[in-house]
């Protein structure tokens, strides 16, 4: 199942500049694992030492926060987009 993962600007230095990465997976967690397998330097920015998703990085299946679905077990199907949205603070 090909799922497109949108990479935010702040994390693109760790995906060789890619803005989107397509992976084969059937859950959100498996898709993120496939992403970090392809781009290992991204791993520490998405997951903490305990392996859990970091609390300042949100993941959405299309427009729904996976925290409001089944978190990493949230099913994904071909054509879905996973959107990674990290906390940013700039404004001045």
């Amino acid at each position: 199942m090909s799922v497109s993962i949108r990479i935010p600007t702040a994390l693109r230095p760790y995906t060789d500049g890619c803005a989107a990465v397509d992976v084969d997976a059937d859950t959100a967690g498996a898709a993120l694992d496939a992403l970090t397998t392809a781009h290992p330097r991204l791993a520490t920015h998405l997951r903490g030492p305990d392996g859990r998703l970091r609390s300042f990085v949100n993941v959405y299946r299309n427009d729904e926060d996976i925290r409001s679905l089944e978190r990493e077990a949230t099913p994904v199907k071909s054509g879905d987009t996973l959107v990674i949205v990290p906390s940013i603070a700039g404004g001045a």
């Binding site: 949205v85 906390s87 603070a89 404004g91 001045a92």
Partner: protein
């Protein structure tokens, strides 16, 4: 008591008055309303100009900075002749030029846990135009405690986020991000850069939402997070819910501590090996200059981007490796020499220093980066 519009104001606001959604009633409501804007920077600039032009009766401005030349590519409320001037004063002069019917209250002080509730209590809506995580959580919590809407906007490089928090029972910033990232993990605009027009777009969205809240018209961004990417010119909208597990916000806290920011210190500090933080030394530019004059000759690693190095670099730097690539390019850094790392301000280089220290290098971080060097050691270097 609602103060009615004068003839002069009727002439000024005529394009608003003929809108059914605004009209005399709505414009009078704007005149009798108040907005507090935290920050007069990239987001605050367009926001303040449009709120003033729209006839919001009382505008509070919080900032304690002075106008710097590097602000002018995006902070359009300030002009070239304001460089060196206090930002609140520069902003007030421009607001009153746009619309002398507006009352401007200035708060030339940092927004802190001590003054936040006192300052914000006096306003109908609070707008977050800040540039750092501690103040964003403070603004949020103060708004929740006071029951005020918090109009949110945030920017990085080419991307922006906007939402409306704590409005009519809707979610707040902590429902979106329960915790901040550790310091240094997310670069600031000073380190990462920002397209000058980006805060213009996001700040104008914040102004739009503020006016809608004051007028009670339309559908706000409450419960939605709007993402904007200037490079692809795409907007994306995500759903935002209240987090049922979020702990209640009962009082203001120490937000620097919450965001993991150590108390400010002066001079050099050696971090003990084996402590929680990676074991590398931190030296001030004065100390580095003195050691170099005495013959210290470490391997000097610049971890900024190539674009920054093109602006200004140390002729005595040995290599340029962006901080995000240091881990992957350790083979290029000699193992038999002490390494001195620097960036623009010292943040990215301390991340690189931690990576190098973990890999067994003897590392020193230049505190304050090349900017501190240009200010304190060699004023012939440009700052950016």
């Amino acid at each position: 008591m609602s103060v009615p519009l004068t003839h002069e104001e009727i002439a000024r606001y005529s394009r608003h008055l003929i809108l059914d959604e605004v009209g005399v009633e709505g414009q009078t409501r704007l005149k009798n309303s108040s907005v507090l804007c935290i920050g007069t920077g990239g987001l605050g600039s367009p926001l303040l100009l449009y709120l003033a032009a729209a006839g919001v009766g009382r505008i509070g401005v919080v900032d304690f900075d002075v106008v710097d030349a590097s602000n002018l590519h995006r902070q359009i409320i300030h002009g070239t002749r304001s460089v060196g001037q206090r930002k609140v004063v520069s902003a007030r002069d421009r607001i009153l030029d746009v619309n002398p019917h507006v009352r401007v209250d200035l708060y030339e002080e940092p927004f802190t846990s001590e003054n936040a509730l006192r300052i914000a209590a006096d306003y109908d809506v609070v707008v977050d135009g800040t540039d750092n995580f501690p103040t964003r959580y403070l603004v949020n919590d103060a708004c929740v405690l006071l029951g005020k809407p918090n109009v949110y906007g945030s920017i990085f490089k080419f991307e922006g986020q906007a939402s409306v928090f704590n409005h009519q029972g809707g979610p707040n910033y902590r429902d979106l991000y329960p915790e901040p990232p550790p310091p240094g993990l997310v670069p600031s605009c000073a380190e990462g850069g920002v397209l000058g027009v980006l805060p213009g777009i996001i700040g104008t969205i914040q102004a739009t939402e503020t006016l809608k809240i004051l007028l009670g018209v339309g559908t706000t961004l409450s419960g939605r997070l709007l993402l904007f990417d200037a490079l692809t010119m795409r907007f994306r909208e995500l759903k935002l819910y209240k987090d049922p597990q979020a702990p209640a916000i009962e009082r203001l806290i120490d937000y620097d501590q919450f965001c993991g920011i150590p108390k400010a210190h002066t001079g050099s500090k050696e971090i003990a090996p084996g402590s929680e933080a990676a074991s590398f030394a931190r030296l001030s530019v004065q100390e580095i200059a003195a050691r170099r004059a005495a013959g210290w000759n470490p391997y000097v690693l610049d971890v900024r981007g190539a674009g920054e190095a093109a602006i200004v670099r140390f002729p005595w730097a040995d290599a340029l490796i962006p901080h995000t690539e240091v881990a992957a390019r350790l083979a290029e850094v000699p193992r038999d020499r002490e390494v001195l790392v620097h960036c623009k301000l010292g943040g990215r280089s301390s991340q690189a220093a931690a990576v190098l220290a973990d890999a067994g290098y003897r590392v020193t971080n230049m505190e304050g980066g090349i900017t501190a060097w240009a200010k304190e050691i060699d004023p012939s270097l440009p700052t950016y």
